[in-house]
C-alpha cells in the first residue's frame, strides 16, 4: 500500500473535496444510517446500559490512574507465560521491533489481523521498505489495501466504497498480489466474500509470521484479546509460527472481571450486534499449540502525552468502537479521509491532537474545529468520553499555542468582539451602528425580503462574510436593538 495521509490538507479543505464526491456521500449516508439504527436498537435492549457505560468509564479511569503498575504487572505475566515483551516509545521504534523479528525468522511476508495500532504507526509501509510484504486479512482492510486507498472508518475502513466499486478493485488488483478473483465475479456480497476467502486462504496457509493488535490486554494473566466478526483474525493468531502483537499501552485492563464490562459495551456500540462472532484470547506461547514464539510490543507513541492532559486523558478510555463516527453529522458528510489520520471522526478530532500535540502542524490544529459541537458523539460513546468538552479544551490549546506572534485575523476579530461585548455601553454603540446599517439596507430598493426584513444574498468579500453567504441568505441587522427598544418604551410599557 503506497497511499498515505502525509501531506493531507487541513480539514476544511479536505472536507470540501470530499463533499464534492457525491457517490461517496451517498455511500456514507447509507452505511452510517444503517449502523446507527442497528446500534440504537441493540443498546435499547439493555436495561442497565447507562450503568455499564459508567462502569466502563470508571474501570478505564482507574486503570489509567495507575497505568505504570498495571503495565509492569502485564509485562511480568506475559514473560512468565513465555512471551517476549518490547517497549516502544514511538512509531519508528515499534516498526523496527516488528521488522527485526521478521528478519530474525527470514520471512518476507506477514499476515495481519485488523489492528488500529499498526495502522497508526504505518507498519505496512515500514515493512515494505524492508522488503517484507504485509497482507491485510480483514475484508474491509483488504479492500482498502488492494484499492491502494486509505481507511476512512475505524471499524469499517472501506465504508466509503459500495459493492460495485469493491468488485472492480478485486478484479483489477487481486491477481497482482496473489490468487486472482474468480471470473465471472458479480457484485453480490456473498460472491465478493467468496473471492476474498479464496484469495486470503492462500496467504494464511503460507505465512510463517502474523502481526496483530489487541482490543484488550488483561494484566492479571498476561492475556491478549481480539474481537472480530470474520474469523480471519483467528486464522492469523493460530496458524503461523511467530506472532507479534502491537498493543497501545492504554489497552490494559487489570482483571478478567473488568473485561466482562467491555465485552458487553463493545459489540453493541461498534457493529450493533449483541455479541461479536469471534473472541480470541491468547496467553504467551503454548508448546505444540499455535504460535511458538510470541512477541508483544507495548506502544506509547503519544499516549503518555495524552495521559498528561487533564481534560484530554479521557480519550484514552476509547475502545475503538466507532459509535461516535456513525452518529457524527460531520463525519457522515465528509467521510474519514478528511481527518487525515487512521483515527477519523469525533474521536480522531481529539485523539490526534492529544497524541501529536497542538501548535505543531496546521492539519492537526484544524481537527478540534472539525465539529459543530452537537454532542451526538458523547451521547453514543460507550465509555462516556465527553468529546465536545475535550474539543473545546483543545481549541483553547490551539489558540494559546499561537499567541505571541503576529495575530491571525480571527484572533484580532475575537479580541475586538471581546472588547466590545464586555461592556454594555460599547455593545449598545455597536448595535446602534448595525441598526443604522439595517435601516439603510432596508431602504434600498429591490432585493428580497423575509417577512418585513430584507435579506442579503452572496456578499463578495473576503473572510467570514462570504463563507456565510455563499449558500445562505443573511438577514440585515434589526433597525432597533432590543436594548434600545426596552429603554425607549420603558420595557414595552410605553409602546404605542
Amino acid at each position: 500500500m503506497s497511499a498515505t495521509f502525509v501531506g493531507m490538507p487541513a480539514f476544511p479543505e479536505a472536507a470540501r473535496r470530499a463533499l464534492e464526491n457525491t457517490q461517496q456521500r451517498h455511500n456514507l449516508a447509507h452505511a452510517t444510517g444503517t449502523i446507527r439504527d442497528k446500534r440504537a436498537a441493540v443498546v435499547a435492549e439493555v436495561d442497565d446500559w447507562e450503568a455499564l457505560r459508567l462502569a466502563g468509564a470508571a474501570i478505564k479511569d482507574q486503570t489509567l490512574r495507575h497505568l505504570d503498575d498495571h503495565l509492569v504487572a502485564l509485562e511480568a505475566a506475559l514473560q512468565e507465560r513465555g512471551a517476549t515483551v518490547h517497549w516502544a516509545r514511538d512509531a519508528e521504534e515499534a516498526c523496527r521491533i516488528v521488522a527485526d523479528v521478521a528478519r530474525a525468522h527470514d520471512v518476507d511476508e506477514v499476515v495481519k489481523v485488523k489492528s488500529m495500532a499498526t495502522q497508526e504507526i504505518g507498519l505496512n509501509e515500514a515493512l515494505e521498505a524492508e522488503g517484507i510484504s504485509a497482507w491485510e486479512t480483514d475484508l474491509a482492510e483488504l479492500i482498502v489495501q488492494l484499492g491502494d486507498d486509505l481507511p476512512s472508518h475505524i471499524l469499517v475502513p472501506a465504508i466509503h466504497r459500495n459493492r460495485s466499486e469493491i468488485r472492480e478493485i478485486f478484479r483489477s488488483a487481486m491477481g497482482e498480489v496473489g490468487r486472482p478473483a474468480p471470473d465471472p465475479l458479480s457484485d453480490d456480497p456473498a460472491d465478493l466474500a467468496g473471492a476474498a476467502r479464496l484469495h486470503l486462504r492462500e496467504k494464511f496457509l503460507r505465512a510463517r509470521m502474523a502481526v496483530s493488535g489487541a482490543n484488550f490486554a488483561v494484566a492479571e494473566t498476561g492475556t491478549l484479546v481480539v474481537v472480530e466478526s470474520e474469523g480471519n483474525g483467528r486464522m492469523c493468531l493460530t496458524l503461523p509460527e511467530v506472532l507479534v502483537s502491537v498493543v497501545g499501552i492504554e489497552k490494559v485492563v487489570p482483571t478478567w472481571q473488568d473485561l466482562e464490562v467491555f465485552l458487553q459495551l463493545l459489540p453493541r456500540s461498534s457493529t450493533g450486534e449483541r455479541m461479536n462472532p469471534y473472541t480470541s484470547t491468547w496467553t504467551g506461547a503454548v508448546p505444540g499449540d499455535g504460535p511458538q514464539e510470541v512477541h508483544v510490543v507495548l506502544l506509547d507513541n503519544g499516549r503518555t502525552r495524552a495521559l498528561a492532559d487533564e481534560m484530554g486523558r479521557q480519550a484514552l478510555r476509547c475502545i475503538r468502537c466507532s459509535a461516535c463516527l456513525n452518529v457524527c453529522p460531520v463525519y457522515e458528510r465528509t467521510g474519514g479521509h478528511a481527518y487525515g489520520s487512521v483515527y477519523p471522526g469525533p474521536i480522531g478530532a481529539i485523539l490526534n491532537p492529544l497524541l501529536k500535540g497542538t501548535g505543531v502542524d496546521e492539519q492537526t490544529d484544524s481537527l478540534p474545529y472539525a465539529s459543530s459541537l452537537c454532542g451526538a458523539c458523547f451521547e453514543a460513546c460507550p465509555v462516556r468520553i465527553d468529546i465536545p468538552s475535550v474539543l473545546v479544551e483543545l481549541r483553547g490549546q490551539v489558540v494559546d499555542a499561537h499567541r505571541g506572534g503576529v495575530p491571525k485575523p480571527e484572533a484580532v476579530a475575537m479580541r475586538g468582539a471581546g472588547w466590545v461585548l464586555s461592556s454594555s455601553a460599547r455593545t449598545a454603540r455597536s448595535e446602534r451602528a448595525a441598526a443604522f446599517a439595517g435601516r439603510l439596507l432596508n431602504r434600498l430598493p429591490g432585493g428580497r425580503r423575509q417577512g418585513d426584513r430584507r435579506v442579503l444574498g452572496s456578499i463578495p468579500m473576503p473572510g467570514a462574510g462570504s463563507a456565510w453567504s455563499q449558500a445562505r441568505d443573511v438577514p440585515v441587522p434589526a433597525t432597533e436593538s432590543f436594548r434600545d427598544w426596552w429603554s425607549r418604551t420603558d420595557g414595552g410599557e410605553d409602546e404605542s
Partner: protein, 269 residues
Amino acid sequence: MDTQEAAGVRVGLMITCINDAMFPDTGKSVVRLLRRLGVEVEFPPAQTCCGQPMVNTGYFDEAVPMVRNFVDAFAGYDYVVTPSGSCTGSARHQHQIVARRSGDPGLVRAVEEVAPRVVELSEFLVDVLGVVDVGAYFPHQVTYHPTCHSLRMLGVGDRPTRLLGAVRGLRLVELPAAEQCCGFGGTFAVKNADTSVAMGSDKARHVLDTGAEVLVAGDNSCLMHIGGILSRQRSGIRVMHLADVLASTEGDAGQTGDAGPAKTEEMLP
C-alpha cells in the same frame, strides 16, 4: 408554581447578543408572553453576550471579562430566563470552566451562584411556572427542530413540543431526522462553511419534506442558518422562534410580522 406565585419571583431576561442585535422581536415576544402569564420581568441593561462564541473558538482568556460582566448583570435574580438553549448551556456549563481557568476564586463563586438559575424559556414555562398551555393561538402547520444544545446539553426533552401541542390552531408535523445537527455550530458555520452548508441543506430538505409552513426552534442562531438556506432556495418556508409562536394570540392573526408565516417575496427592483 401558579401565576399568582410567579408575581413575587424576580426574573431577569437574558436576551442574548444575537437576539438583541438581529432578532429583537423574539425578546419582545418573551416579554409579552411572560407578562401574559403574570411574570414581572426585568432586562438588566448591563448584559451583553455570554461569551460562547469566544469559548467555542478557543479564546478562553477573551471570554473572562464577558463572564464577569454576565454574573454582575444577573446577580440577585431568582431566575435568568433566555430564549436560547445554546446560551443557557454556555452560562450553565462553560462559565464555570472559564472562571476556573481565570484563577479568580471570586469569579468562580459568582458563577456558581448564578449559573444554576439560568433557564431556557421552555424549561421556565414548564418546570418553574408549571404551564403547558400558554394561551397562544397560531393557526399554521408547524414543524419543530430540537437544537443540539437544547436537546443534549440541557435535555429540554419534549417541553417545547408539549408547549407547541397546546397552541390552538397549530398543527405540529414531525421533522424527519429531527435530532441531527443543522450544521450551524457558531464559528463552525464559517470555519467549515462547506460542511456546515451540506448539513444545513439536508436539514432544509427534511423541513421541506414535512410540508410545514413554519419551522420552529428554540435558538435563533440555528434558525438564521437554516432559514438562510431556505431563503436562498426560495422555499417560501418561514422560520420562527418558539417564543414568537407562543406569544401569538387571536389578536395577531391577520397581522403580518411576528404572528403569521409571511413568505419570502420576490420584489422587483
